[in-house]
């Protein structure tokens, strides 16, 4: 009966489903896009490590000042495999006001694991001045290994060009840590120290050690950091709020569709009552129709979001920077919201339809 009713009013059904589909697609695209961005940031920080150490009470890691000496002391602990200090900064080029600059050591896994397109890893050393460019940075700076590049107030020799999966790193500049500290007047400090453990064990010991030896610093396991870092929380919350607003609009579309559907067939519903439908059966029929619309819409929304994310991946400006990705949690969340929205949207029409007085409805024929 519900399928039949939806089939009879194809246009109305399609409009309702389209509303939900756009809601689902918008939510999945926004959540996928911003979630992908968060994942990128997380990967920059994780850097083949289990723990990140930074200054307490800073609003952003760019403002964190951690002593580099701490990295050396951490590496002496028995359960620590290595500790890498990283200084995050923003540097400018003549045509590019904002380029992410990473002050790192030559032993940093970022460069060790990167695909070297020009130059070689040995050319990047802790005591030199030579910088390594990500592939995209080399493109937009029109620079190559063996040449120089103007960055900030100085000119730097380029010793290599690397391809890195992470878009931010691929569009960034890698500078020897000491040079970077000097250039940005940050001598002796870094933004974070990433700590890799032997077999991943000893995280609590590291945290205790940092807390005891460097009371102004905090050590967090990556998972813990990802959960509590306010920037990530803001991005994720924004994604769900924007997606939620899209759903609200989708929900209004379903409400409108179902109200029109009920008002347009009051006599039919009255006849259903005369044929023995109870009030609750009529209400459930309306709710069921709405649920079906939302399921059609959700399926359509999945397809739209898959296409949308595919398009986003293909946009050159976004390539590598943000990796749109959707997990089962996001799909389940969007589907759950679609169902809830549909049911909430159909609540008033369902209650209204169950209260139709069949005798009156037929009398005014």
């Amino acid at each position: 009966m519900m399928f039949t009713n939806l089939r009879r009013h194809r246009v109305r059904t399609a409009i309702g489903a389209a509303g939900i589909a756009l809601g689902v697609a918008t939510m999945l695209c926004v959540v996928g896009l911003l979630g992908g961005a968060v994942k990128m940031f997380q990967r920059i920080l994780n850097n083949d490590s289990e723990i990140v150490v930074f200054e307490k009470n800073v609003s952003d890691l760019f403002f964190s000042h951690a002593p580099v000496a701490m990295a050396g002391r951490l590496e002496k602990l028995p359960f620590v495999k290595n500790a890498q200090p990283v200084l995050f900064t923003i540097i400018t080029a003549p045509d590019r006001p904002v380029i992410t600059c990473f002050g790192i050591r030559a032993s940093d896994p970022r460069l060790r694991k990167a695909e070297w397109l020009q130059g070689q890893a040995a050319d990047f050393n802790d005591n030199g001045r030579g910088v390594v460019l990500g592939e995209r940075a080399a493109e937009f700076l029109s620079a190559h290994a063996g040449g120089t590049v103007a960055l900030g107030q100085d000119t730097w020799p380029v010793v290599g060009v690397v391809r890195i999966e992470n878009g931010f790193e691929n569009g960034g500049v890698f500078m020897p840590l000491a040079e970077c500290q000097h250039a940005f007047h940050q001598d002796g400090v870094c933004s974070v120290v990433t700590v890799a453990l032997h077999d991943g064990k000893g995280a609590d010991d590291v945290k205790r050690w940092v807390s005891a030896e460097y009371p102004k610093m905090i050590a967090m396991e990556n998972e813990e950091f990802n959960r509590s870092y306010s920037q990530f929380k803001i991005i994720k919350t924004t994604a769900w709020v924007v997606g939620g607003c899209a759903f609200l609009l989708g929900g209004l579309s379903v409400t409108n569709t179902m109200i029109l559907s009920v008002f347009g067939r009051i006599r039919e519903l009255a006849i259903a009552r005369v044929c023995g439908f109870s009030r609750s059966q009529v209400a459930l029929m309306i709710l069921g129709e709405s649920l079906l619309i939302s399921l059609f819409g959700t399926a359509l929304g999945w397809a739209l979001s898959a296409a949308g994310l595919h398009l986003l991946r293909a946009i050159p400006a976004l390539q590598g920077y943000i990796e749109p990705r959707i997990g089962w949690m996001e799909v389940a969340g969007a589907t759950g919201l679609a169902v809830l929205t549909a049911l909430a949207g159909a609540l008033y029409p369902a209650v209204y339809s169950s209260r139709i007085n069949p005798a009156q409805a037929l009398r005014f024929e």
């Binding site: 006599r267 006849i271 044929c275 023995g276 439908f277 009398r363």
Partner: protein
């Protein structure tokens, strides 16, 4: 004797009043009526005299303002009783067919089956039996908008009979038909009622139809003002 008469009463209406618009419009004013099982009763009177409202209170589609209505011994007081009666006991036919125009006649006639959640195979068998009896078997697959007025009303008759009701309530069932169809549909209705011993209450202002019923009650201003028994 008294008990036997009571046991044979199919519909009992005792001092029923029905008003609308917060009591400003009184449509039924103290109606008393007993209908025996298998009786064919005509309700006659001009438009607005209360015939349709009386049928509605008997079926439970309208609540009474005062008084008591019993169908097959059940007092029509609440939703559960009303739903049960309409599902299993009462068939309702209106002046207009009230079929859904963009559904096929088959789909329309199966609506009562959806309400009861009855067995589809048995329902389809019954549908074909009734459609054959009413002469619309060939039209079951057609959409209602493609049917003639007489076919539509016969389709409505099939739908009303799908739950094999003991009581048929007919509100001007031939009022919208031309003369030839009017005669055919009424004959069919009468035949289907008599063969199965159904009780039928038919609201009409057609004296020719009323004359062929077992009893005729005349209504005026919400009251029963006369009775003819044949």
């Amino acid at each position: 004797m008294m008990n036997s008469a009571l046991a044979n009463t199919h519909v009992s209406v005792v001092d029923v009043w029905k008003s609308f618009d917060q009591g400003r419009i009184e449509v039924l004013r103290g109606v008393n009526l007993q209908v025996a099982r298998g009786e064919i009763l005509a309700l006659c009177g001009v438009s607005g005299c209360g015939k349709s409202t009386l049928l509605n209170v008997i079926s439970g589609l309208e609540d009474v303002t005062r008084g008591q209505v019993k169908v097959a011994g059940h007092e029509v007081t609440n939703e559960a009783v009303r739903v049960n009666l309409l599902r299993h006991h009462i068939g309702y036919i209106f002046q207009l067919h009230h079929l859904m125009p963009d559904l096929t006649l088959r789909e329309n006639c199966l609506v009562p089956l959806v309400a009861t959640g009855g067995n589809r195979r048995e329902g389809l068998a019954r549908l074909h039996e009734l459609a054959a009896a009413t002469g619309v078997e060939g039209q079951l697959g057609q959409r209602v908008r493609e049917l003639s007025g007489g076919e539509r009303q016969r389709g409505a008759l099939v739908r009303a009979l799908m739950n094999n009701p003991e009581l048929l309530l007919c509100d001007e069932p031939t009022g919208a038909l031309d003369e030839s169809n009017r005669e055919k549909v009424f004959e069919l209705l009468l035949g289907l009622a008599r063969v199965c011993g159904r009780t039928m209450i038919i609201a009409t202002h057609d004296p020719q139809i009323a004359e062929r019923c077992d009893r005729t009650l005349r209504m005026r201003d919400g009251r029963i003002v006369g009775e003819t028994t044949r």
